[in-house]
Symmetry: C2
Subunit: 210 residues, 2 copies
């Protein structure tokens, strides 16, 4: 059996360790983050660290890596205070992955990988036209995590574009029907099987499939 | 087409809004968090807000809701400084969901839902025996997010239990083979389809399936 302790992590080769530890958090959402710099230069970057913070106000956050790597997306959000989150659909996940290559800052990843921009009034950052769930956010707060020099970037949702027919009666958006993919580790993409919705859980009462 | 702005969110009924906004972050990992209070009373709680913070040191975080709801798990981690994260497997996801019912603090959710505890030397919190990927963490930091009164709880991984045959040559853990499920919104559980692993992306070079 594989039982690993801290000292075992320390003995792992650097990239092995990164892949092993990155796997632990399980399935994550694959999203493309669209930004511009102060000169309007567009940038697009795949991230797997989007997290729901709260529904009212509507807040989402992204974890960004330390400044030891280029962080155009982080810098653009910090400078322009606006960004978009676009679900990656199964028919363009390879293009989405390609945005993780280290392009020069002067190169738009939209062009480089062959995805189209889409702009909406009131949101000064580019959306991915091909995405079926597009979210526009304004920066609310950047929290520097001193523990490992990463940044927690919190945005407030100011705009959502999703076709009505994917929204169920109670407000739930059918992520699987949208074709949104998940990612595990650093590079493994998954389509989603059909969901099983469960009833609100109460003590002493069996949960039911809805 | 469904274009929604901030004012539209404000007009949504409270639970509709919660389900809609919760859907935006896409697929998330379903995990059970095991804790004890200072008297050894066991607690088990399903969470969908686990996020990878970094590989070295090995850090993971969980977002907890504001104190307006009972937060036994959060209080236990704060008080005892230790917790476990256990992947939810497809054959017990209903039991996992049932832990979200509001049990009294004196009731162990392990017993209430019919899952078994497992203890490992050096980790003073219970694991879920049925889980195929078990992670033991020590509390490193609690960051109060004043913006909406949630808490970001950062733990350092000190122990991992996963069968060797799920670990690939390069350190990646095959989450789909483990049967780990994802969750969208508040209550929709998904099994994962087989992964497509993609090569490391470089400018001007097409990504390949591994």
């Amino acid at each position: 059996m594989g039982k690993f302790y801290s000292k075992d992590f320390d003995e792992m080769e650097k990239f092995y360790r990164a892949k092993f530890i990155n796997s632990l958090s399980g399935i994550k959402s694959a999203n493309l983050v669209g930004t511009v710099d102060e000169n309007g230069q567009e940038n697009l970057s795949i991230v797997s660290s989007v997290v729901h913070i709260g529904a009212n106000p509507a807040l989402m956050a992204i974890i960004f890596r330390p400044a030891t790597v280029p962080r155009h997306t982080f810098e653009n959000i910090r400078d322009t205070k606006v960004f978009t989150i676009n679900h990656v659909k199964s028919d363009f996940f390879k293009k989405a992955h390609q945005t993780s290559a280290r392009y020069e800052k002067s190169m738009s990843e939209f062009e480089a990988v062959g995805l189209n921009t889409d702009y909406v009034e009131g949101v000064e950052a580019p959306f991915v036209k091909e995405s079926l769930l597009k979210i526009g956010l304004k920066l609310r707060e950047i929290i520097h995590l001193d523990i490992n020099k990463t940044e927690l970037v919190i945005g407030e949702v100011m705009f959502v574009d999703v076709a009505d027919n994917y929204i169920e009666e109670d407000g739930y958006i059918d992520i699987e029907a949208l074709g949104s993919v998940g990612v595990t580790g650093l590079d493994s993409y998954h389509e989603l099987k059909e969901a099983t919705r469960l009833s609100y859980a109460k003590p002493g009462q069996e949960v039911k499939e809805l």
